[in-house]
Each structure stands twice: as C-alpha cells, then as structure tokens.
C-alpha cells in the first residue's frame, strides 16, 4: 500500500521537523513494515514548467519543430520537439539536462543531455506524460501528444514537482505486515497509529446529518453477510473530471483518476479504508435489496465479465435483479455512465470471509474486496459517509440529497477483556506503571479501567472485528507501543534433567555422515513429487502411490513411494557433466494405506516412512567393481553407524533391477531394502545413456540403533599370523558365500585357519570353459606357537582339499 504523507497530515499534525527516517523506523518496529520512504520530488529533479514562446519549422525534418521555450532563466531556450499538439503560449514540462526520463514511457531510464537533433541544437526535452511517469495521471489521447500544463497557472521556470504538487513523501507499506489490521488500510488508519505513537492530536470527522425525507429505502435480507448499508440518493451531479488535488492524491496512492463521481468513492476508500460505490440512480428500479444470490442468476460486471452467481454470493439488487457483486465489483449496467445525473452512493459493511470466497470464485480481487476481506468494522461507515458528503457538496454545489437510509442491522460489539496486571508484568518481564500502561492503551483508542489487579479493557470499534480478542492481544499492544527493542534479553533458566539421548535421530545423521564422509558420496535433495516418466520406468505400478490434487505440473502428480525414480532422474541430469559419481538422498516416502494417527483419534494419516536411497553411477568401472563398491557401502554401514547388522538375501527381484545383479536386505526376517544394477531397459527409459547404475534403497525407519558401541576388544595375536594366497578353479556359477562357508563355516576346513577373504576372481584365457579361478587369502596362525612353513602349507592343503571335496574345486595349474 502506498501512502502520501501530505494526505496523512490532513488527519494528524505531524511536526514539520519530524525525521521521516525515524517515523518509518518507528512504524516498522511497532506497527507495520515500511518498505520504502520516497521523496517524490526527486523523480522530477531538473524538470521545470516552460512556456512555448514561438514555434518554428525544423529546417531538416518535417515532423519536428524548433521551439523557443521560456524556462524562467532569461534567454528562451531552443528545444526541438515532435509533439503534435504544440501551440504558442502553451505550458509544458521541460526536462533540462540531467533530468531522468523514459523514451515513450518504456525501457530503461535515460539521462537528458544537450544535443543536436538533425543539425539543430536542442536544450533538454519537452515531455509527454508517460515519459516522466505521469501517464496515469495525465493520460495522452493520442501518440506523440505533449503534456499540456496550461491549466496550471504558474510562472515559467517553476519546478515541475512544485507546480504539480509532487513535493510529497510516499510511504510504501508491506501489505503482508497488516493483513491482521483492517483498521490500517487507509490514510486515516495510519494517521491514527502515528498519533498514538507520538501522542499527537487526531482529526475527527463531523457526523453527517440530513433531513432528507422520501420513500427511499434499503432492505437487507442477509444480516449475517451485511451488517450495515447506507444509501444516499443525490441529484444535481454529473460526470466531469475531479479537481487536480483529488486526482493527484488518488494517483499517489497507486490508482487512476477516472471522473469526479468515481474518484470520490475511491478517494474515500483510500482515506478511510471503507470501500464505497456509486450507482446511477436512474437505472435502479424500485429500491435496493442486499441479499444472497439465487442459483442461476447472472450478472455482467464492470470489467465486462459475465458471471453465473451461486447462492453463496452476496449481491446488491433492484427490482430487476442483481446490480452489483457486493463488496467486490459493480455491475456494468447500473454503475456510473457518461450521462449520469443522479446517483445512489453505497457505504456498506460486508462480512469478510464471504467477500473473500466470492472474489476468489470469480477471480476478481479488487481494491474493495481486498479491504473487506480483512474484516472492516461497521462503525467506519460513519467516517466514510462524512467524508463522501463533504466532497459531493464541494464538487457539486448544486447537489441535493433526495433520499437517505442507514440500515445498521447487526451492531458491532466492542471487545471487552479483563487482564491481570500481575500476569501482564510476568509476561512482559518488566514492571510498567499502571499509568504508563493505560496511557499507551488509551492512545490507541482503548478504554481502560483499573480495579486492583484487574484491568478492564474495551477495544475501540476499529480493533474489534477479531484483531483484539484475548488478553495476550492486549499485552502485545502494550509491548509494541513500549517498543520490543526496549526490553532487555532475559535468559531462560536451565534445568539439567540429564543429557539428551536420541538414538534414532543420531542414527540417521550417522548414516548420512558415513555415506558422505567415509564413502565419498554426495547428498542430494529432490522434490517429493515424481515425473511420470520415471514413475513408469522405475516403479512396479502406481497402485498405492498418492497423488496431489493440484500438482506443480500435469506430469508430476505422484508423490514418492520410493526415492529411486527421482534418484534416477538425478543420475540422468548429472550424466551430462560427470562420468562417475555416487549420490544419496534421505527423505520420507508415502503409501496409500494403513491410515491412522498417533496424535488424534479422528485424524487419519497415510503410512509414511523415512528412506535412504543411493545411486552409484559410472561409465568406466566394471559392473562387478561398481557392484562391490555399492555392496561395501552397505556391508560396513551397520559397523560404522552403530546399528544392528543386516544381511543380504536373494528372495525377490526389484522390478527395476537387472536379472542377475540384485540383492534384498534383511534385518532378521524383515525385508528392509533392495540393491541392484538398474536394468538396461529401465535406464534407457530414464534417459541414462552410458552410465551403469547400481541403486540401493532401505527403510531407515526399520533400522535399529545400538544402545552403545558394541565393538569388543580382541587380544592381539601373540604369535605371528601369515597370509597365504591360494588360487583354485571353481564351477563358473559357484558362489563366494559357499566357498567361505566351506572354509570358515561351522566345521572349519583347517584348525589353524583364522580367516578367509576374497581377493579376486577371473574368467577367460587359460581358464577352461564353465570355470572360474578364485583367489582366496587365508590367514593362518596359532595361539600357542609360531608355525613352521611346513605347518602353514599343510593348513593350506587341508583347505584346498576341503574345497575340492565340497565344491569340486581344482588347483589352478598354470
């Protein structure tokens, strides 16, 4: 919202020497956020009013003329101008060198310099209204029309800002910071707040009185939606421009002047915050009825949009039907028309939420609806009436009030609250005197009675539409008027009830740090919604997958039941820049099942689980290398992150996985996740071209943190241990788990074998078809003595024998 300081000063006597920065700061700290304080005159720096003394043709251009312009400093200036409405004696706006304009009102600002136009020297520029930002205030009727200021009777050389009453300050207020303060949506409201802040007198409006007698009447059949409606019927008016002063203010507040009748209604709204509307009285049949619309009724709005009304809309009607969408927009037929001679002025109060629903329903938020939807108080109609009638009388001395009706069907009840002074002091953390408290509140329009510890507070009407309703609201008023910044910080007392111990929280963090720091993986974030392409490529189906009602994009309706579709998308995106990387994500996934809530028995929430997913991508590594890297990350995770270990089984192939390279993760008998190579078909559907990708995903909600670290100390070997490598030929499809089990299982292959580890496996040249060579490292040692080389070799032989017997392994001969 934009406010003119000079307009505010109509209502509160702000001292001339008031520091505006401080005013803006104080308002920001106590009331609303002032986003900008602009000295308006700066926009018109180096611009003056000039008088065209003589017009001469341009020697080299038909469309240009050379003007002799008096700008009040003696010698007339030569200015080349292409304006089509130039006339000798005309007053024009001259931008002298150094002024900032926009060519034809568009593009970047340009600084005016002395220049030559087609060979003729030109001092500055004669401006069109939009070139100096005044297009809305002085709309041009045609192309290349110069702003004609002849109506402004000022001497040549008068600064333009002074001539046009622009020596003003504009305050820009953040609308969001006053959504809860309907009383502030106008110049008078802000003036009232300033008066309270600085203890300044505030202007009061004289009540409007009339003795008009006629059968003019207004009927309200929906009192819950319209608590008050004042209609004033007037004759002796006409459509004409409003006085410049009014236009100027309407423009400063960010609206466009239209004509005197419309301008009065807008001006009153900008002043008081109460929207008003004027109907052409000759088009209103019989009398005005405020009622809820009937299903199927139609209304053509002022913006030429025809709407089909519904029963939830409130309308202003006459005998023929709806004439306006109450509080939102007038109808095209009965509003002010060029030949309007009689009007009915509407000053009304409508219920906020209904206005909001209607404005949203027809996508027509207006200045009026955005004020009504904040909950304006009905008492404000009196101010709006007083101010409106003042201007009607001033602008139309012939005007007669021919009818008047004030229907106030639902009186506002002012909020009354009892506040304990002890409670107040405790919550403020500060003892303020009763006097200080009551002065701060009365300045804001509250009535205060103190009786012992109880302070009885009656809120002013303009704060009683929901804004002030409980004692905490009263405390806030006292605190903000005292200034939040004036309270010293007080620390909260520490009560040691034992250290914080949250194993579940720690586990997730440990896993993420393990993946990032130890395993060299990068954490990524993706959105909870998934693109259909990846959903169809990666997931088994869409059954049980939840959807958004209004998704960010039509093909992003599903929200994730798995982290893998988005991880695949991330892999595809990064393939352009990297040929090897590994990423992970931790986030919640959602399932359309098991609805319940731990918190409220009526609540029903879907199943939500915390997952950790990862992708290992490489175009260089062998698949077995990539697979072992990913598997290693999982294998060592329980050890490094202090949780119960899980194991790998091969029970159920994930749909996205390659036929051979996949595993399921089990914690006890419960499946907690999968890992595997992304099948070629899936990766092509995901747009992954060259990378091999291994994925894993596990349900972190099922992981079990250990109560404490459980590594056990083992004594250091007293006698040396020896590593002894053997290479044997196995059937190509034999598994390492079986080899390991044969050596280290319940019945060990040899008493002195302490451990067996996988070194590598090899298929190909020199290896017979259907076989593979596996190199195994045996750790051999004894707790009782140092072994001789003979004993070591015997042990290795025992192992090889067992492998031969159990798995048909043969010693590799070459």
């Amino acid at each position: 919202m934009k406010l003119s300081l000079s307009w505010i000063k109509d209502y509160v006597a702000i001292p001339e020497d008031m520091d505006l920065k401080k005013l803006a700061y104080d308002l920001t700290m106590s009331t609303v956020e002032v986003e900008d304080v602009e000295e308006l005159a700066r926009r018109f720096d180096k611009m003056v009013v000039g008088i065209l003394e003589r017009l001469e043709p341009h020697p080299n251009a038909d469309k240009l003329r050379v003007c002799k312009v008096d700008i009040g400093d003696g010698e007339p200036k030569n200015i080349v101008c292409g304006g089509i409405n130039l006339e000798e004696g005309m007053r024009v706006a001259v931008s002298c060198p150094g002024a900032v304009v926009r060519w034809h009102g568009e593009g970047e600002p340009v600084v005016i310099k002395n220049s030559k136009l087609r060979g003729v020297e030109s001092f500055g520029m004669i401006c069109a209204s939009d070139e100096i930002g005044l297009g809305d205030l002085f709309p041009a009727s045609q192309e290349a029309e110069i702003l004609d200021l002849s109506a402004f009777d000022v001497p040549a050389g008068t600064p333009l800002a002074k001539a046009l009453d622009m020596e003003d300050v504009l305050l820009e207020i953040d609308n969001k910071s006053m959504t809860n303060r309907p009383d502030l949506w106008g110049h008078y409201g802000i003036a009232r707040e300033i008066a309270a802040l600085y203890d300044l007198p505030l202007k009061q409006f004289a009540p409007f009185e009339t003795n008009a007698e006629s059968d003019f009447k207004v009927e309200i059949t929906a009192p819950e939606r319209c608590s008050r409606y004042i209609g004033v019927e007037m004759s002796g008016v006409e459509v004409k421009p409003s006085p410049y002063r009014m236009q100027n203010r309407i423009w400063k507040a960010g609206m466009r002047p239209i004509n005197a009748l419309v301008d009065i209604t807008n001006y009153v709204m900008l002043a008081t915050g109460n929207p008003t509307h004027a109907f052409d009285a000759d088009n209103i049949q019989d009398h005005i009825v405020v009622r809820q619309a009937l299903e199927g009724e139609k209304l053509l709005l002022l913006n030429d949009k025809e709407i089909d009304l519904c029963a939830d809309d409130l309308v202003i009607t006459d005998a023929q039907g709806p004439v306006a969408l109450a509080g939102v927009m007038g109808g095209a037929k009965d509003s002010i028309l060029p030949d309007t001679k009689r009007v009915i002025l509407e000053i009304a109060n409508f219920e906020s939420t209904g206005i909001r629903r209607t404005a949203l329903r027809y996508d027509t938020r207006t200045e009026a609806s955005s004020r009504y939807e904040k909950a304006v108080d009905p008492e404000r109609c009196d101010q709006a009436l007083s101010l409106s009638m003042q201007y009607f009388k001033e602008l139309y001395p012939q005007m007669k009030v021919t009818g008047f009706c004030d229907r106030y069907v639902k009186k506002l009840k002012r909020a009354e609250i009892d506040v304990s002074l002890t409670w107040l002091a405790k919550r403020l953390g500060k003892d303020l005197s009763n006097d200080a408290i009551s002065r701060k509140l009365t300045n804001l329009g509250f009535e205060v009675q103190i009786d012992g510890d109880t302070m009885h507070v009656t809120a002013p009407a303009w704060r009683s539409t929901g804004d002030i309703s409980i004692k905490d609201d009263v405390m806030e008023e006292v605190a903000r008027m005292y200034g939040y910044d004036n309270f010293e910080a007080t620390s909260f007392t520490t009560a040691f009830e034992g250290a914080i111990n949250q194993k579940d929280q720690d586990l997730i963090r440990n896993i993420k740090e393990y993946l990032a720091v130890r395993c060299g993986m990068q954490e990524v974030y993706t959105y909870p919604w998934m693109s259909d392409t990846f959903v169809h490529a990666v997931l088994p189906g869409t059954e049980g997958v939840l959807r958004l009602s209004t998704p960010p994009a039509p093909d992003q309706g599903y929200i994730r039941s798995s982290l893998l579709p988005n991880l695949c998308e991330a892999v595809a995106k990064n393939e352009r820049y990297f040929d090897e990387f590994s990423i992970f994500e931790e986030a919640q996934v959602f399932f359309d099942r098991n609805y319940r809530s731990l918190y409220d028995e009526t609540e029903s929430l879907p199943e939500q689980r915390r997952h950790i997913g990862a992708a290992f991508a490489s175009s260089e590594k062998s698949i077995s290398g990539l697979f072992r890297e990913a598997k290693g990350v999982l294998e060592f995770m329980p050890r490094y992150t202090h949780m119960e270990g899980f194991d790998f089984r091969k029970e159920e192939k994930p749909v996205w996985a390659d036929n051979v390279v996949w595993l399921n993760l089990y914690l006890g008998d419960e499946k907690i996740g999968d890992m595997g190579l992304v099948a070629k078909k899936v990766s092509l559907e995901c747009g992954i071209k060259n990378l091999s990708v291994i994925l894993f995903e596990l349900d972190a909600s099922k992981l079990k943190p250990l109560k404490s670290r459980t590594n056990r100390f083992t004594h250091l070997a007293e006698y040396p241990e020896t590593d002894y490598d053997i290479s044997m030929l196995f059937d190509s499809d034999s598994k390492w788990v079986d080899i390991y089990d044969a050596i280290m299982g319940q019945k060990k292959a040899a008493a002195l074998v302490k451990e067996a580890s996988f070194v590598d496996e090899y298929r190909g040249r020199q290896i017979p078809e259907g076989k593979k060579s596996v190199t195994i490292r045996l750790t051999i040692g004894s707790d009782e003595k140092t072994l001789t080389s003979q004993e070591i070799e015997q042990t290795a032989e025992q192992v090889m024998k067992k492998l031969g017997k159990k798995l048909g392994a043969e010693l590799r001969t070459q």
């Binding site: 939420t353 409980i470 806030e476 909260f492 993420k512 990032a516 974030y525 959105y527 995106k573």
Partner: protein
Amino acid sequence: MKDKINGILSEAQERIGAAANENELQNLKSAYIGKQGSLSLFMKEIPKLDPQIRPEMGKLLNQAKNQITDLIDAKRMDLKLKASEVSPDFDCSVPGIMPSSGGLHPITQMCYDLNDTFRSMGFEIFAGDDITSELYAFDKLNFPPNHPARESMDTYWLEGHDSGKTSEKLCLRPHLTGESVRYMQTHKPPYRFVYPGRVYRNETTDAHHERAFFQYEALIVDKDITFTSGKVMIKSILSKVFGTDVPVRMRSGFFPFVEPGFEIDMQCQVCGGKGCSVCKHVGWIEVMPGGSPHPNVLRAAGLDPDEYTGFYVNIGLDRLVMMRYGVDDVRLFHSADLRFLRQFR
C-alpha cells in the same frame, strides 16, 4: 716411501671428506686405488725394493688401500643418508589428491550446525511427517476457517483427501508449526525442542521462491518465560551460523499461531548495517518470524495457557544458507546438480 704413502693417505682422507657426490668418489677411487691409481703405482714398484723392507712396505700399502676403500664406503653411506630419495626436479607444486569426494547437502550441514547448538542448550530434536492433516496444519494453530493458506492455491492437498472433515483432509505440510503440537501432545512440559524439516507451498517458483524448502523451528514452553527470553535463543543461533555476535532486533509481526508475534531482523552482514543493495539500504535483514505460542495453540496441545507460555522461532534454512554462501537462486537446492552441491564439501 713410507712418508710418501702417509702423504697420499692424508691427502686422500681430505679429498674424500670433501667429495660431494658419487661421481667424485668414483674419480677419487680410481685416482688412488684404481689400476693407474697412485697407490697401485707404488705396488708395482715393490718388486724393485730392497727385499728387507718389501714385506713392511707391502703391508703398509695394503693397509693404506684398505683404509681408502673404507673411507670411500663410509663417505658413500654418508652421502646416501643425507641425500633425497628423489631427483631434485621433483615438483612439490603439483596439487594434492582429494581424500573423499562426498559431502552433505549444504542445508543438511546448516541443520546439523543448528542441531549441535540447540543440543548444547538442552533441546531435543523432533522429526514429524511430511504429510499432515488440515487439523494440525491449521485448526490447532488458530488459523481461522477461511484463512487463505488453507486454499489449494497455497497448499498441496492430496487427491482423494482434499475435502471433508479437517482431520481427514491431507496435505504436504505447508509449515512445521503443527509438529510442535504433536510433540507437546506426546511429551510432558516443560518443553525445549527443535523440529527441522521440509515444507511445501503451491506457488510459482523463481530465484527467491520454491515449492519445497527447509524450515527449522525451535520452541520452549515453561511456566515463567517472558517473550524476551527468545532473544537469547535467537542470538545463540545467529552467532553459531555466522561465527560472530550478530545484532538482532524484534519488531511487531503477525502470524495466527503466535500472540504476540515478531519479525526478527539481523544486522546486514554484507554492509555491517550501513545499508547496501542486499538489505535494500535499511541495514537490517528479516531472518525469522517468532513469538509466543497463541493460547489456542497451547490449549490444542493440552496445556493451560494461564499456567504455561513459551517462545518460538521459525528459521528459513534456505535463506540462511543463501546468505551464508551468497547463493542467488533458491531452486539450486533441489536441483540435485553435482556441479552446485560439490562446492559445499
């Protein structure tokens, strides 16, 4: 002859001692004990000597030869130990090898920094669920029934769960505050906890607006808390994040779930409060809203607002991370773009 041998010996001793490298040692070796070496030449003269002194001279020459060989060997060992193992043109300016290429997301890092700070002040960490009901997103937080935030233009409602009773109307949580009610319902006061998480808004995105972003809320609830206690909390957070004491100010603000409500500004860290383009020339930057939980919110959590009060802040993590690193487009956080993420290891 004896003197000559002794002369050669002491000269050799000196020259070997001064030798700087293996080459010189080789030269000295051949100069003294090589085939044409000076001692070898004496050797050839032995048969010409008086047989009386021959054995003595022979012994003397052999001793001298051995002595020189020992000297050269000792010197060689000495040179070896003092020398480098590599050639002198070894390039030490070659860059190192990165130990590990992984990293946490910059927002996770910021979140963990804050967790550490709050843990040290005795706060618990609470993680709620992303999908919530209108009951917890709005009703229990004192949002009036027609509040704009409830509409689909601001909130992501779930298909098939977007009408009916508020306890069955489901959405991706539009803010975290509802989680505080869940925590309070299941724990005993006094409370001191934080609840970080991702929240979702149905809005048009640009460099400063996102549909999914991270918030971090902290709440204390106890019997004797004034709203100014919150200042301590805020200062602790900001000094942790920025590493220095950051001046803060509290000013009036409005949110349905707090009463009173504040906007909390910190001094602009770019210009030090003098005014610059980052802070729009005011010297202050809005960092977080805060306030005392509204009595209706405390009631919803089962507490008596006459007995209990509290202080709450909501920190926009995306914004804080953007300020910390000078990131100028909030959409990068959910881009999963490694070129961006790898800058924050």
